[in-house]
């Protein structure tokens, strides 16, 4: 592949499809043999044709960028972005811009390079978990044994007011499919998440190995009191070590805001569990993605920009999770031949000047790649937009529009919850009704819409949310962000 296809068109490596098209047509007009008889122009014309052929096709462009990365000694991971508008407006007021950032790897998984996994289940065995919930958890534990491969590590910790190792780190064996230690887990006591986390992380650290992906799955149904800050610190430390924490909440009593933060700090995700099938599905998908990890501990270090404020950040693939807006974002693992998608929302300062270039993100993405010897596995990510007076009316990319549409619904739900919590039934009702109207328009969200509608009625009559529905709506609208078995191709 020739050097610098982007340079041929006078573009930087992160040029958007629209910019590529414009640059090509501008150059083509200038260099076309009919318009420009010089032999030099003819050669250049050929060069831009070739560049456009590669760059205008998503797959070819990704392949080209990956091959370029390899040639330059960088890891074969690339970042590319789509924006809600091609250029920023030169207006006296503030404006918003959205970017959909994708981190892509195209390498096919090979059996001999796949890492081993070490998964620790941290199970809340407080009194409220008795009967149905603890039964579900046990089924999940057996499912985990079934899904993990022979070389993988597994461990189980239970906690109430204190924690104990039910199964210390062990290589998975067939016999564990009916391990009596799981069946004999008893409920009783309170919920001190810090105890469970400490013990689980300690256990995972014992299996510390460069080629092992470590994952902690917390299952709880209750609030933890007074130890939240310490838990968050632990999660941060876990993230630093490359240990991902995911959380599964049962029923309506658990603190979803807290678990969202806790998991967000380490690159994991939090979910509401409503059925055994859902729980099994979660275990299966987690183990499946762990088993084909290419790079782990992805960490995006974000440098601020005076004119662009990062308002919100949401991972929308492979799972839907809000990411804490901070100077770094833990993005989790990047599997072989797969991608991570992040939605970024920026508020841009008023009074921009025509022609000025605004940096949205100047970041460095670091990662650990077990199969690569080079110590410096990092790529630079820079998202920039130019300011233009005369805006061409362009339609934003479909994938981005769909993601923002769903994010808007999720936020309507958040707004209603906050209002209801503050006793503002009127606005909570209105927002839920608006949300229901949107959800009822699509078949895939029809049932969720009906639930939202019935909650709106309850709130209107002052009865408040029914238990669990509040969380079902939250995680239900959030799940809409996931591209449903849809191919992630664009263009």
């Amino acid at each position: 592949m020739g050097a610098g296809l982007f340079e041929t068109l006078g573009l930087s490596n992160n040029a958007s499809p629209d910019e590529i098209r414009h640059a090509y047509f501008d150059a083509a007009r200038r260099l076309h043999p009919d318009a420009n008889p010089s032999p030099d122009a003819a050669n250049q014309f050929m060069a831009i044709q070739k560049a456009y052929d590669v760059l205008s096709n998503t797959e070819k462009r990704i392949d080209y960028l990956i091959s370029q990365a390899i040639n330059e000694g960088r890891p074969p991971v690339i970042a590319q972005a789509q924006f809600s508008i091609e250029s920023l407006q030169a207006i006296p007021e503030e404006q918003y811009i959205y970017a959909l950032l994708e981190i892509i790897n195209t390498e096919e998984a090979k059996a001999h390079v796949l890492p081993t996994s070490s998964v620790c289940l941290v199970i809340d065995r407080s009194t409220s978990m008795q009967d149905k919930r603890i039964d579900m958890v046990k089924k999940a534990a057996y499912e985990l044994m079934k899904q993990l491969r022979q070389d993988d590590w597994v461990s189980i910790v239970t906690f109430s007011d204190r924690a104990e190792q039910v199964i210390p780190p062990t290589r998975v064996k067939k016999s564990m499919l009916s391990d009596p230690r799981i069946a004999s887990i008893q409920t009783g006591g309170g919920t001190e998440i810090l105890r469970g986390l400490e013990c689980g992380l300690d256990v995972l650290t014992q299996t510390s190995n460069k080629d092992t992906n470590r994952h902690l799955i917390l299952m709880t149904d209750g609030h933890t009191y007074g130890d939240e800050e310490e838990c968050l610190q632990l999660a941060q430390q876990a993230g630093d070590k490359g240990i991902i924490i995911s959380a599964l909440g049962f029923g309506s009593e658990w603190n979803d805001t807290f678990l969202d933060r806790l998991t967000g700090l380490s690159g994991g995700t939090a979910r509401l569990v409503t059925s055994v099938d859902e729980l099994r599905q979660f275990i299966r998908s987690q183990v499946a993605s762990l088993s084909k990890v290419y790079a782990c501990n992805l960490n995006l270090h974000i440098e601020g920009s005076p004119q662009a404020t990062l308002v919100d950040m949401f991972r929308i693939y492979p799972d839907a999770s809000p990411l804490p807006v901070d100077i770094q974002a833990r993005l989790g693992n990047l599997p072989f031949n797969d991608r991570i998608k992040i939605l970024l929302e920026y508020k841009i300062a008023p009074k921009l000047n025509e022609g000025e270039t605004i940096t949205l993100l100047q970041g460095i993405l670091t990662m650990e790649i077990p199969t690569r010897k080079e110590p410096l596995n990092r790529i630079e990510i820079s998202l920039r937009r130019t300011v233009r007076e005369d805006q061409e009316k362009s339609i934003p990319p479909r994938e981005l529009v769909e993601a923002i549409e769903k994010l808007t619904l999720y936020r309507l739900q958040e707004k209603a919850r906050e209002e209801e919590a503050a006793g503002d039934h009127v606005n909570a009702t209105r927002h839920l009704k608006n949300l229901a109207t949107r959800l009822l328009q699509k078949k895939e969200s029809d049932n969720l819409g009906k639930m939202v509608l019935s909650e709106a009625e309850k709130i209107q009559s002052g009865k408040g949310y029914s238990p669990e529905a509040e969380k079902r709506i939250k995680y239900g609208t959030r799940a809409l962000l996931l591209p449903m078995a849809k191919e992630s191709k664009n263009d």
Binding site: E93, Y98, E405, T408, L412, R438, L440, Q441, L453
Partner: protein, 151 residues
């Protein structure tokens, strides 16, 4: 600032969906002069719809929280099999779309049943059946001078 055509909430430039009602606001076309009018065939009643809006059509129930924008309950909607939230009509300058919300008795355009949750384009002179409730659609470029009841 941009104004949401559906609920008139103001949003910052660059916003793609209204934060209040969830409506799409990046593709807003300015109001033109065309008109969309629904004529309820049995009563001859006419209803004018504004452009760039979405109207939910149905009938109000006693205990229902969501009131449809176009409430047909006073026109015998219950007896004619109109669902509470039966369909949505979206209006654009000079054209409109209908979406059936998986209503119990379905929606027909000129006698043909349409699929639920799919945007189906409408044209001037179409007959819309919500259950057995009949509506004649007028889309025109001129102002209609007849007396219309307000939405």
């Amino acid at each position: 600032m941009i104004k949401c055509p559906n609920c008139h909430h103001k949003e910052r430039n660059g916003t793609l969906f209204c934060s209040e009602c969830g409506a799409e606001i990046f593709n807003v076309i300015p109001d033109g002069v065309s008109e969309v009018v629904l004529e309820f065939i049995e009563t001859g009643k006419k209803l004018r719809l504004k452009e760039n809006r979405e109207y939910t059509i149905g009938r109000m129930g006693k205990t229902q929280a969501l009131i449809p924008d176009v409430d047909l309950s006073q026109y015998g909607a219950f007896q004619k099999g109109v669902s509470r939230l039966h369909a949505i009509i979206k209006t654009y300058p000079g054209k409109c779309m209908i979406i059936d919300l998986d209503s119990a008795n379905g929606t027909k355009i000129n006698g043909e049943r349409i699929a639920a949750y799919v945007d189906t384009p409408l044209k001037n002179g179409d007959t819309i059946n919500l259950g057995s409730f009949k509506i004649l659609l007028h889309i025109s470029d001129q102002h209609v001078t007849e007396k219309l009841c307000p939405v």
